[in-house]
Amino acid sequence: MKNKIITMCLIILTLTGTSCKRWLDELPINTVTEDQAWQTGSDAEGAVAAAFAIFRRGLSGLTKDDTPSTTRNGSWGDYYFWGDARSGDWITPNNDGDWAAGFQNHLIQRTQLEPMTNWRLFYRAIEQCNLILEKIPEINNGLTQERKLQLLAEARFLRAMSHFYAARIWGDIPINLKARNVEAIGREPINTVMQMVISEVDQAIPNLPWQNKGSRKESMSRGTKGAALALKAHACMWLKDYQGASNAIKEIMDANIFKLVTMDGLRTLFDTGESEEVIFEMYYDVKKGEYSDYYGHIMTYYLTNPYTSRGDLSLAVPKSKILEIYPDYARDKSDKRVAAFFQSIDFSVSSSELRPVFPDPLQNGERAIMFAKFRKVKDRTYNLMDAPVPIFRYADVLLLKAEADARLNRISDALENLNKVRERAGIPLFTRDDQPVVIDEILAERRRELIGEFHRVYDLVRVGRLHEFNPYITAQGEKDGAGFFPVSQEAFANNPRMEQTYYWQFNQ
């Protein structure tokens, strides 16, 4: 008996003594630490690609992964809320309270909308770029000098782009050009931000290519000369430097890389982004597992059966507004963009079947016309929606140049570019030559051409006319900053220098 106990004890002792290696103390081999991360060329490539990926996520909005406090699953297509929702052109046919609050500029009190006031992902992209600009110069292993300069230029471009995009949304924003900040940074006036954007872009342009490797959409979703020049032109417009904007766009036009596609070509432009009109976009690719889920792509909210399995419209442009925006269509149905951008669906057919599309785009009633600029083949699945997020395209910069030229009183140059866009749409060429009328017409043409492409609100805020189109915003309110988004609570944490936008200090 005693022997047995002793043997048992011995066996247990040997087992415990030999069987456990101390693997818990060992570092898993997939952990990347700071000093391992920046060594080879592929590390550099990965870091730049990651920066663009963060920027894309910044556009589509914070998700549950980013802020546990939000109730939102997946992204909400915040670019739509920032750039289109408050333009006064949109309604929510199923009376969704969150959409309506967005239209009416009630951006704080609804908890669902709070995450949209958070600029964290833009600054995450900026920080990634800062880190790249600090670390890549030291990498020599597997990285040619030429490629290194190009990657650095891309990071510089994206850093400027993120600042620019955030400045259009929030107005005055912090400028962050250091990888690590110990001190709190406050908001800078929007003009300072735009000047910084222009000087950064000027540094980046010499080392950027006109086109990157890969298909058109892959090429145009990264830094290129075209994208940088378009960014510079937009920033110049905010600074009222019309000559600068006009010159930058002249360079884009002279490069002969981009062109206005045909009306039929617009389908490829919006569906896949593989188009010669694209200057800068952020693409998704189903084949790489990138697509929307139920809440993913803003574009799923425009569509119903037969494109997704939604039964009702959630976002739409009312019929009366369409006729107001496209007066040529209202007069003689000549504007081809109405048929290209809008559709009427036969809602009397069972939702279990693919509902037919009426030949007349405006056949349905006031509140039942589908915004179908971004659509896909009819298959009624919510997901697998991988249309790109548009940022700049050729028609956009042509019209921007037209506006710059018109403001410089070079009316004939302005009309030439304006009429290129009008000609494609099949509407009569514009011939009047008094400056204010031309400027107004160009703004209206931008509204017609770029509807739903996240430009309208920024255009109106830039010229200070948002209050004319959105009845919930007053002229005084717009002067106080109602056209910009409020700053999220999170930005105030541990930052004594942060200030809320003047308008939002008094308006909830």
Partner: protein, 211 residues
């Protein structure tokens, strides 16, 4: 001992009065001939509901009360929100908007009367059980062709197992031109008044006058 008896008695009383089991009883479905029976005329029912007070005022002002209340007809009632949106489109300038419904000019009132007639199906009781997923056609009091069919939703991915609803469509193109139907979903169907059948229309997407 007395305390114990009191406690037992108290608990006993609790047992007896505490739990009614009436709420376990399920009355089942109401018999189909009683479900949705209003017991009043179509007009009286609409008047009793606040979401139809604009509608009833318009019916009164256009003198269509009798047509709405006539025996054996069907009335499809647009909600006030639909009419509100109609006026938003009609009077875009807030300066020129009539202050009351009585102040609407005569020619607009005639148009409203014509529109209202298209919501009345004379001498025909349209009920869900008689409709199919295929189209059936009738003529409205306004002389337009109206179309009815049933649409069934999916339920949890099961095709055609979800809620059934009536779709009411009206031919909006002028006589002689190709027909163009605009459709509305019926939100509440098969209400039976003392004179006929009443359906309440979904107001989210429908605007009075099929705009």
């Amino acid at each position: 001992m007395i305390k114990l008896i009191k406690a037992i008695a108290f608990i006993g009383i609790l047992f007896i009065v505490g739990c009614g089991d009436k709420y376990f009883a399920d009355g089942g479905n109401q018999p189909s001939n009683q479900s949705g029976v209003l017991g009043v005329s179509t007009m009286d029912y609409l008047k009793s509901q606040s979401e139809f007070d604009t509608l009833t005022t318009l019916i009164r002002l256009t003198g269509l009360e009798e047509a709405v209340n006539s025996k054996g007809n069907t009335f499809l009632a647009p909600r006030d929100y639909s009419i509100h949106n109609y006026f938003e489109l009609l009077f875009t300038d807030p300066e020129n908007k009539p202050a009351t419904l009585d102040a609407i000019p005569k020619e607009e009132m005639d148009k409203i009367a014509q529109i209202l007639k298209n919501y009345i199906i004379p001498n025909e009781e349209i009920v869900r059980s008689k409709l199919l997923t295929t189209y059936s056609y009738v003529t409205t009091l306004g002389g337009k062709r109206a179309r009815f069919n049933i649409v069934q939703q999916d339920y949890l991915g099961n095709v055609n197992m979800g809620a059934k609803s009536i779709i009411f469509s009206l031919n909006t193109s002028p006589t002689g031109q190709p027909e163009r139907y605009q459709s509305i979903q019926v939100a509440t169907a098969d209400l039976r008044s003392t004179n006929g059948v009443l359906h309440l229309l979904n107001s989210d997407t429908h605007i009075f006058g099929f705009n």
